[in-house]
């Protein structure tokens, strides 16, 4: 579907990984969620949700994820961790163009709030940006990242 429509328009991919721990060296990935973003539209209807080793073999999951991302710029919340996990899964490096939404958010807040500490918790970010989403699970967090990225990049404030 995507190959015909808006081939000229640049897509991005929001990803998130849930894992058994928070240490990229030792954690075992449980769920990968990846969602493409095209223009203002988040393609949740064709999102990728993987449970490596559970519903897909690990190697197969790596190939699927790599193909799904296909060189598109990445977007995420706590993106470094997700990328570390994803690169371990695919065994290949992921695109270099990456946007950490908490960093975008921090940049915006620091401009307006100056002295106060910026609350970077995902729940606070969702409330503050008034996003219509519940940041639950890998899919919910990836979607939240996609929405936050759209809001923070589209209105030039």
């Amino acid at each position: 579907m995507a190959y015909l429509l808006h081939t000229d328009r640049r897509e991005s991919v929001a990803i998130h990984c849930e894992a058994t721990s928070f240490d990229p060296e030792s954690a075992r990935p449980l769920t990968f969620a990846a969602i493409r973003i095209r223009g203002h539209r988040i393609l949740t209807g064709s999102a990728l949700l993987l449970h490596p080793g559970s519903n897909t073999g690990t190697a197969e999951a790596g190939d699927l994820l790599h193909a799904f991302i296909g060189g598109r710029p990445l977007v995420g919340y706590y993106l470094d961790f997700s990328i570390a996990m994803a690169e371990r899964l695919t065994g290949r490096p992921l695109p270099e163009e990456r946007t950490e939404v908490s960093s975008l958010y921090y940049d915006r807040k620091i401009r307006s709030l100056s002295k106060q500490a910026v609350d970077l918790r995902l729940d606070s970010l969702v409330n503050d940006l008034d996003l219509p989403v519940r940041p639950d699970g890998a899919f919910g967090i990836a979607l939240t990242a996609a929405m936050a990225w759209l809001r923070l990049t589209q209105d030039g404030r």
Binding site: G39, G45, Y78, S103, L120, L143, R151, D155
Partner: protein, 637 residues
């Protein structure tokens, strides 16, 4: 890089396994009809197929340049549906749109009503139901499918109704700003009734606004004065303050005129107070409101009347194009546009001729327009078809120069020269009455192709300036020379059949070929115009307008009533489609002086479904009319 105070929740191996089918987190509202018709499984399927889009303020969600592959359901915020710059509808949470673009005409381009755009009025979020998912659900659940399609059908009906009602449409789209406002006339609360009456008389106003002591503003109308003084017998020295009515009906200058009409009707008043940024800027009267529709054309009419030189006329002439666009965009009927444009064009021709011609030429000649201009069916600026009839024995030494100037100025105004050179600047069309009579004699008795055409367009001639009796005399001569000669009329009517009209039996073929353009003039309009012309000429009728001719032919019994009614309707629809094909093309307003050239090609696949069906019906009617003409004039023998 900022720190991460909130690490993702870590689990220790016992995490619940997520669903393979992700569910879009912002829950779709399945309580909203028709989605409440879906079963649980169908809801899950729909939830899994949904996309979500977030729009900043002023983003365009959907326009006709960009075909869509999904139906939109608003989740948050409001979306404005704009037609030709005006807000036609507002969609809030739970409302859906885009189906027409998905299946109907608007997405296909030029054929749609007017350019429709969906624009985010504020930050918006929408669910998008991709077309395959929607179709799968409709197939699975016929009730749901019917509801979705029914919704669509209803909108198409609304659209058709909107188009058929020109006054309503013009009013629903127009703003108060477009109407004339009476300047506000204030008096103090301490002023007497007599002072108020005096102020009204001096300012020729029908009401005054009363500035109360506490800052409140009230109104006192002439009717109030009459009631208070004449009926209630109050002394004219009484102060107006306590007598004025407060709680004014106000509207903003940018409000819709339609709202003003509603407000006036509801409160049975004839005026409302208009504000801008909270300050009173004037009064809108009911009659001014109703005048708005014709206001635009009146302005151009005045420009023409007051023109001091051809340059002034040129400006007025250019604004006709804008007028056509405005009228068409607000849904005004094409016959009304034709009347207006014909009238304005003729005024421009008359004024130009009056500016150029010395008084003795004006008194001794008749400027005529022919062809579609003569019939009053001019929608856009088409080729000039004009001529000058001089009184026998009158001679004007400057005539060639005046005639050349006349034609040249009209070209500058945007009326292209006639390819057949039927123009005042051609001596064949600027000659004495006797010369016209000779020409008519030859056209009738030695018919060839050119003679037939000349006769046809001269029969449609209408006087524009000078002495109209000259044209009347020439036409009397024409009708007097006509014998009831079957051969002549057979020859005259034959061109009505010269072009093919696709339709009827060939409907299937037509469907398949619908990407091919149809020349609407040759296939539809010309056969009607010429067939009707031949019938009218046979009956020696003096009318020039096609619709008038049809009506008079029906009265004479020369045309069956049903056929006459259908012909008028088909002629109107075809003219509308022809105009629309042209006017709808450029999306933005024309740059100054931009012209609307006439293009007769219609692409059925670019028409809306509504127009396409009408188009096909019209063509099949034209087909049967041609059969009637062939039979009547024995063209098949």
């Amino acid at each position: 890089m900022p720190p991460f105070p909130d690490a993702p929740p870590s689990c220790d191996g016992a995490c619940p396994v997520q669903h393979a089918m992700p569910t879009a987190s912002p829950d779709f509202d399945f309580g909203q009809p028709p989605f409440d018709l879906l079963t649980d499984d169908q809801r899950t399927a729909l939830a899994g197929a949904l996309d979500i889009a977030l729009y900043p303020r002023d983003a365009v969600l959907l326009s006709r340049e960009e075909p869509t592959d999904a139906m939109f359901v608003v989740l948050r915020g409001t979306v404005q549906e704009r037609r030709g710059g005006e807000v036609a509808a507002v969609h809030g949470p739970g409302d859906r749109f885009g189906l027409q673009a998905l299946y109907g005409a608007a997405g296909a381009g030029a054929g749609g009503s007017t350019a429709r755009r969906f624009v985010a009025a504020e930050e918006c979020a929408c669910h998008l139901i991709p077309r395959p998912a929607l179709e799968a659900l409709a197939a699975d659940n016929p009730e749901f499918g019917a509801a979705i399609i029914g919704d669509f059908a209803q909108r198409m009906r609304d659209l058709a109704a909107l188009r058929s009602n020109r006054e309503m449409a013009a009013l629903t789209m127009a703003r108060i700003r477009q109407a004339y406002l009476h300047p506000p006339l204030f008096v103090d609360a301490s002023a007497s009734l007599r002072d108020a009456a005096e102020a009204m008389r001096q300012n020729r106003a029908s009401s005054v606004l009363v500035r109360g002591a506490d800052g409140a503003v009230g109104i006192l109308t002439g009717t109030d004065l009459r009631d208070l003084v004449v009926l209630d017998g109050r002394p004219v020295s009484e102060p107006v303050g306590p007598l004025a009515r407060y709680g004014l009906l106000t509207l903003d200058r940018d409000d819709l005129l339609f709202n003003a009409l509603v407000l006036m009707t509801k409160h049975a008043v004839r005026r409302v107070v208009v504000t801008e940024n909270g300050a009173i800027v004037g009064l809108l009267g009911q009659s001014d409101l109703l005048a708005v529709l014709s206001n635009h054309s009146q302005v151009i009419g005045l420009q023409v009347e007051h023109a001091a030189d051809p340059a002034d006329l040129c400006r007025a002439s250019r604004s006709i194009v804008e007028l056509i666009r405005t009228l068409h965009a607000t849904g005004v009927k094409v016959s009304f546009i034709a009347d207006l444009v014909t009238e304005l064009n003729r005024r421009i021709f008359r004024k130009l001729f009056e500016l150029l011609a010395p008084p003795d030429l004006l008194a001794n000649s008749c400027l005529i327009v022919m062809g579609s201009e003569g019939r009053g069916e001019q929608l856009l600026k088409t080729d000039q078809d004009n001529g000058l009839i001089l009184r026998d024995g009158f001679d004007c030494p400057y005539l060639p120069r005046i005639a050349a100037d006349f034609t040249r100025h009209l070209v500058e105004f945007g009326y292209p020269p006639c390819p057949g050179n039927i123009m005042v600047s051609n001596p064949d069309w600027t000659r004495p009455l006797a010369g016209y009579k000779d020409a008519l004699f030859n056209w009738i008795h030695r018919p060839d192709e050119a003679a037939q055409m000349n006769l046809a367009i001269f029969y449609d001639a209408a006087p524009v300036a000078g002495d109209a009796t000259l044209l009347a005399e020439a036409k009397d001569y024409l009708l007097g020379r006509l014998q009831d000669n079957q051969m002549f009329f057979t020859q005259f009517a034959r061109p009505a059949l010269s072009f093919d009209t696709p339709s009827g039996l060939f409907a299937a073929l037509f469907e398949r070929r619908r990407a091919e353009a149809v020349d609407i003039k040759k296939a539809g309009i010309f056969p009607i115009v010429h067939g009707v012309r031949a019938l009218a000429l046979e009956k020696h009728r003096a009318e020039t307008n096609t619709v008038e001719r049809i009506q008079v032919l029906a009265e004479l019994g020369a045309l069956d009533r049903k056929m006459a009614t259908d012909l008028v309707e088909a002629f109107t629809i075809l003219s509308t489609i022809r105009l629309k094909a042209r006017v709808d093309l450029p999306d933005d307003g024309p740059e100054e002086g931009a012209e609307l050239a006439v293009d007769n090609l219609v692409y059925p696949d670019r028409l809306g479904k509504l127009d396409r069906d009408q188009f096909k019906d019209c063509l099949s009617l034209v087909k049967s009319f041609k059969e009637l003409i062939a039979h009547h004039f024995r063209l098949n023998h």
